[in-house]
Symmetry: C2
Subunit: 432 residues, 2 copies
């Protein structure tokens, strides 16, 4: 086992684990540092939620009610269980049934399938921990959620990128890729297919109903000797502003054993409370809970009680209406600004998302957008920042498309979005 030595800090070197070698700093840290060093920059990079939407009054109401009862309050302040607060899990099952437009009974699962986590990020990380050895394979879309690509790298997983279009991952290409892996004898190493099924981070697309159905079928087809799971990351599901309302990939799996579904309240309510959850196949319930038990015994019980109150008192539902209204205006502002400033620039195109927080823009292929590119430097000089498309691919750095940008409309005001897009267009124009 190779052990890299690190002599940078102390006089004695440290022998780190192999896992440490696999783990890299999140790209987001670089962006945050840039933001700190350039405080006047308009960030279209940050995936933070709009500070205006943060529900201070709702949380005050929920905590006050929770702590008004000595019994409930003490329950929230004591240790919880690793899997999470039972009342919240019941409420989440109801909530999930609403999203699935069916009754709880029709879901066909109980609360034992629900695992509460510190944001959905922890669920993504736990899934990697229990399934992947170094060299195991995950199929992902290109582009994909870059933080999850880091999780896969962190356990030494290999990734295979499947092209995507305006309807999400191309399932024909997925099927072909699995066939290639099969021919190469690599099928036993294939553990999972990862999709952000609603208003994808970064591409803004939804997986269409037809694609979801095909995805479930293809995963089943290639699950020959062992289960190939689908990890459905539905972080943005509830941030729908218009357009069709698609069923989940989860709903396409009648066995309820194939899809790991995850969602979070970070985008729709508050990332600071840090409550996410997974709905998981029965075979993964205990392995995921065991890993989580070893990692932290369970997420903040207080935060879980708080979210239970927020859901039960109807504070979440009413807040979501406001949040969606605000984000829709911002989405519109970004699309209007894109048309205003970019439509005359040759070779520049962008997607029109029906929800979520991101617009995915492509430049001519000869204009790199990476952190080290001219464009990124000029953009920061012009006072605007974006996420380079390059980091949203899990391929080896050489073969990644490098002419795209993820533009977030979550944080800025509509006016800030307009000004940010204006500045960005100046930087782009100077590179054309």
């Amino acid at each position: 086992m190779s052990t890299k030595m690190d002599v940078s800090h102390s006089s004695l070197p440290v022998r780190f684990s192999q896992r440490r070698q696999f783990t890299s700093e999140l790209a987001i840290s670089f962006l945050m540092q840039q933001a700190v060093e350039n405080p006047l920059v308009i960030s279209l990079a940050a995936g933070l939620v709009d500070p205006q939407t943060l529900p201070v009054a709702e949380v005050l109401q929920a905590t006050t009610e929770m702590l008004a009862s000595e019994t409930v309050g003490k329950g929230a302040l004591q240790y919880g269980t690793t899997a999470g607060y039972v009342r919240l899990r019941r409420l989440l099952l109801d909530h999930f049934a609403q999203l699935e437009k069916c009754s709880v009974e029709q879901l066909g699962i109980g609360i034992d399938r629900i695992l509460l986590t510190t944001g959905s990020q922890q669920l993504l990380s736990l899934v990697c921990e229990v399934l992947f050895d170094p060299g195991d394979i995950c199929l992902v879309a290109g582009p994909t959620y870059f933080v999850f690509a880091g999780n896969l790298a962190g356990v030494g997983a290999r990734t295979v990128t499947i092209p995507s279009d305006e309807h999400g991952m191309q399932i024909d290409a997925l099927d072909q890729a699995l066939n290639v892996l099969h021919q190469a004898g690599d099928l036993p190493r294939v553990k999972m297919i990862y999709v952000v099924s609603y208003y994808d981070n970064p591409a803004g697309t939804c997986l269409s109903e037809e694609r979801s159905r095909q995805l479930a079928a293809v995963a089943k087809k290639w699950s020959r000797d062992h289960q190939i799971f689908i990890l459905e990351d539905a972080a943005y599901r509830e941030l729908r502003y218009d357009g069709p309302e698609y069923p989940s990939v989860w709903s396409m799996d009648e066995s309820r054993e194939q899809v790991i579904y995850t969602q979070t309240f970070s985008k729709t309510f508050s990332p600071g409370i840090r409550v996410g959850f997974g709905i998981v196949p029965s075979a993964l319930v205990q392995p995921l809970a065991d890993r989580k038990g070893n990692e932290d015994f369970g997420s903040s019980n207080f935060a879980q009680h708080l979210m239970a109150g927020v859901l039960q008192q109807g504070l979440y539902a009413s807040h979501l209406v406001d949040v969606k209204h605000g984000y829709k205006l911002k989405r519109d502002a970004m699309l209007i600004a894109a048309k205003k400033y970019f439509s005359k620039l040759p070779g520049v195109t962008w997607r029109h998302p029906h929800g979520g927080l991101y617009v995915w823009m492509s430049l001519p292929e000869n204009i790199p957008t990476s952190f080290r590119s001219d464009l990124f430097r000029r953009a920061v000089e012009a006072g605007v920042m974006y996420v380079p498309g390059e980091i949203c691919y899990a391929d080896s750095p050489d073969s990644r498309p490098n002419h795209q940008m993820r533009l977030s409309f979550g944080v800025q005001t509509p006016e800030g979005i307009d000004e940010g897009m204006r500045r960005l267009s100046i930087a782009v124009q100077s590179c054309l």
Copy 2:
């Protein structure tokens, strides 16, 4: 890489990771199940804190104040940084300086060395992740904190047990063990020495000043080609009821690069809020933060803001006085009951802890205390439960002492403790 198949749940087997094979269910889960199935049992097993002490009024005051300000409230509800809330880290540095009886300047470190975690458990887990490959070695006391033994097993680490006595780990034996490892060529695999330095879980002992000094020296002596870290778990440090006040192992390391120090507010304030922290050598700051970033982006920012308010408003200090007063009475109740019910039983001895939550009791060596023993069954029948000493050893199951018990006085009332001890003595007597 071996891959065990699991066919228990779905029709198709699942190929889990090696890490999954290493990870086992926490023993605590078995105890909780026993408690659920035997609701009338008096648990002297649970390491929960006394529900009577849970600070509902204090938390209400702190949250109300926090959410009264839109700015502070929104800060708490937004994403935080992976390392944790800066104001809380400043307060923790002050707090730590108080415990170390010196000024912040004299500590010789800044807030960049503090990492906030989901309980101190997450810090323990992260340290294992960044340092240990399968086969790497950690030296631990016998007995030791059994959950951490699970963390070590979870990364495939080997453990070497060092005997302990009423002053904690025996440093002469530690030195000898390291020499044996050196002779065997295993020194490069030695990554760490783990100690619970204050009111040990389970043994109730403190590492004396002399031992702490020797421990730091021995770790330094054997850190020849690489740093051998000491992980000082100070979870119970502030639960001191009487007896001497020892300096930390951390204070013995003038380089500030050798000791990973961790503490939590779970025992002294509220485990449900789930805030712990580590003070770590500079070489580990980035590796630990990177791992944590991959696992969850940071613990609940809301919970961290809450704890900052609790500390700053003096609510923690006043609450701690009450908590210690209550636990001291319970500690006394347990020692009085031990004397009353066990002093006539031949070969039964127990430690007298000056703090923490546990009394460590030894029976004659021919009386096993394990989950499968006659004694455990008879104890549950008599209506009382304890933690078998056996699970508090990290050795291979065959070579573990199996005639001891960890008795917790945290949860029960003084009357419940007396009754629990009475029932336990009946079960023990029936096995003598």
